[in-house]
Symmetry: C2
Subunit: 319 residues, 2 copies
C-alpha cells in the first residue's frame, strides 16, 4: 500500500473520478470542493461507472486549501480557465519535495505551476469521458487512461523518472490504465492533434465528430488543422508523423459520435479552455516565427464565441 | 430616351428593384419570374424605397425565357447558386451583338456566361440593401450604386468602353448612381475585401458587423482575411493597397449594424453563394500556387453549414 497522500484540487468530473478511485484503493485522499462542499462533507461521493458503481460514504472534504494537510501529491484537476487561482491554492497544500500532478488539457499548463519551488511537476494527459451529473455524483462513461510525463525547465525531455513510476503505480493500484511518456511536450502536442480540430470545430460549427468526418470539406479542414499542429510541434523540435495523423483520422471515423469537452463547456455556457488548447500552442510556435493560420482562425472564432457567452447577449439577437 | 430593351432574369430584391427603376424611367423592360409570375402578371410590382415609393401596375412578365423577346441587354439578377440554369436561359433572350449584364456577387461569374458568342459581357457590382417582402413587393432600404466593368477573355482590363457608357447612362436616367471601372477583375477583388470577411464570419459566428468589429479577436481576423484577399488579388496581378483595407475597416466600424446578404440567406435556409464569393477566388489564387489558408478555413466551414442546412438535420440535434 502506498503511503503517499493525495490532494485533489477540483472535485469535478475528472478530479472526483480519479480521487475516488484512489481512495477506494486505500490511499489517503483529500478533496477540495467549492459548490458541492456541504453536500459531499455529509454524504460523500457516488461514482457511477462502466467499470462498476461505488459509493464513498465518508471523504475528507475541504472548502479552503488553508484547512487541508500538506500532501505528497497535489492533483490539479481544475479547468485551465481557473489557473489564475493556482498561486494562492498550491503553496499551502503541497509538501516540500512533493509532486504537483497537472491533469489538464492543452499546452504549457505545467509552466503555470513552475513558480512552486522544490517540487516535481508531472503532467498527465487524461483520456476520460465523465460528467458530474449532480452534487457529489459522477458518471464515468468511457476510457480513463492517463499518460504521464515529467516536466523540466523548458520542457526538456526527462525520460521515465522514479516519481512518474511511483504515481503510475498508485493510479494502477486504483484500476487506472497508465502510460509513461519520455517527452511530456511531445505527448502534449500529440494530444492536440485530436483536441484542436475536434474541440474547435465542434463548437464553431455546432457539430459532432461524426458529422465533421462525414462532410468532405470539414474532413479536409480537420486534416489540415492536424498538419498545422504537427508544424507547431516541429517548431518545438518535436516530430509528429503523417502516419500518426492518419491513425487519428481513422480512429475518429470509427468512434461513436462524440460531443467534445469544449462543446460541452460551450453548451453549458461555461468558459472554454481556449487559451490552454489553442492560445498556448499558437504562442509557442509564434515565439520561433511559425505561423499556424488555420489554428489561429479557429482560435479567434472561439475567443469571440467565448466572449459572447460571457456577456450573455446571444438571446437578444435576431437569429 | 434610350431605345435599348432590357430583360431581367430574376425579379427578386435586386433584379426587381433595378428593373422597375428602368421601366419607371421609360425603358422597355421584360421580367422573368418564377413563383411570383401569376401575381405580378396581374398586379405588377410595388417598390417601397427610401428614395420614394412607386407602383408599376403593368409589367411585361414571363415565366419562360422562350416566350421573352430578344433584348439588347440581358440582366442576370439570379443568385449565383442558380447559374447552372444559365446555358438554358440566356441564348433565347439575348440579341446578337447585345449585352449580358452580370449583377452578381463574387468572382469569375462572368466566365460562366462567356459561352455566349457575339455579345459583350459587362459585370456590375451592386451596393444595394433591398429585400423582397412579398410577391411583387420589394423594399429598398439603402444604397443602390452599381460599378460597371467590361469582361474580356481572361479578365484583361478593357478600360471604359462605349457599351459600359451606354448602360451606365440608361441606369443613371433611372436614378441609379453609377461608377465605371477600367479593370473589372480589380473591382471584383476589391469588393471581396469586404464580402469575404463579413459574409463569412457573420454566418459562422452568428454575428452582425458591429459585433465582429467590437471584439478584438474577430476584428483582427477580419483584417487578416482582408489581407488574404489582397494576396489573392496580387496572385492575379491586381494591387489592393493597405490604405484601401484600412478604409474598409473604418467604414465598417462607422456603419449601422448590418446583417450581410449571406447571413440573410443562411437564416432563411437558402443556399449560400459560397462558391462565387469564396470558392472561385480560392481557385483563382491556387491556380497560380497561392494558398489563402484563412479564407480556405472559412470556405470549408461555410460549405459544411450549407450542407447541413440542405439536409435539414439541424433541428434534430442536441443544441
Amino acid at each position: 500500500m502506498s503511503e503517499r497522500s493525495y490532494a485533489i484540487l477540483g472535485t469535478g468530473a475528472l478530479g472526483g473520478f480519479y480521487g475516488a478511485k484512489l481512495q477506494k484503493a486505500g490511499l489517503d485522499v483529500h478533496f477540495l470542493l467549492n459548490s458541492d462542499y456541504e453536500y459531499v462533507s455529509k454524504s460523500g461521493l457516488v461514482i457511477e461507472s462502466k467499470d462498476g458503481d461505488f459509493t464513498l460514504t465518508q471523504v475528507n472534504a475541504y472548502n479552503d486549501v488553508e484547512k487541508m494537510p500538506q500532501c505528497d501529491v497535489v492533483v490539479i484537476a481544475l479547468k485551465t480557465t481557473q489557473n489564475h487561482l493556482l498561486p494562492h491554492m498550491l503553496l499551502p497544500v503541497v509538501r516540500d519535495d512533493g509532486v504537483v500532478l497537472v491533469l489538464q488539457n492543452g499546452l504549457a499548463v505545467e509552466e503555470e505551476v513552475a513558480f512552486v519551488g522544490n517540487v516535481s511537476i508531472i503532467g498527465g494527459l487524461c483520456f476520460l469521458c465523465s460528467n458530474k451529473v449532480g452534487a457529489g455524483y459522477i458518471r464515468h462513461l468511457d476510457y480513463g487512461q492517463i499518460t504521464l510525463g515529467e516536466y523540466a525547465n523548458g520542457y526538456d525531455p526527462t525520460g521515465i523518472t522514479q516519481k512518474m513510476r511511483q504515481i503510475a503505480d498508485d493510479l494502477k493500484s486504483a484500476g487506472i490504465s497508465m502510460e509513461l511518456a519520455e517527452d511530456l511536450l511531445l505527448a502534449r502536442w500529440k494530444k492536440l492533434v485530436w483536441n484542436i480540430p475536434y474541440n474547435g470545430l465542434s463548437v464553431v460549427l455546432n457539430a459532432r465528430t461524426d458529422e465533421l468526418m462525414f462532410d468532405v470539406h470539414t474532413r479536409q479542414l480537420v486534416e489540415q488543422l492536424m498538419y498545422e499542429v504537427a508544424a507547431g510541434a516541429k517548431s518545438c523540435e518535436r516530430i509528429i508523423t503523417d502516419s500518426f495523423i492518419q491513425t487519428m483520422l481513422e480512429y475518429t471515423v470509427k468512434m461513436k459520435p462524440y460531443r467534445t469537452s469544449m462543446k460541452i463547456d460551450y453548451d453549458e455556457r461555461r468558459q472554454m479552455e481556449v487559451e490552454a488548447i489553442f492560445g498556448n500552442p499558437l504562442r509557442k510556435a509564434l515565439a520561433v516565427g511559425v505561423d499556424l493560420p488555420r489554428i489561429s482562425c479557429i482560435y479567434q472564432q472561439l475567443k469571440f464565441l467565448d466572449e459572447m457567452t460571457r456577456v450573455g447577449n446571444r438571446e437578444n439577437k435576431v437569429k
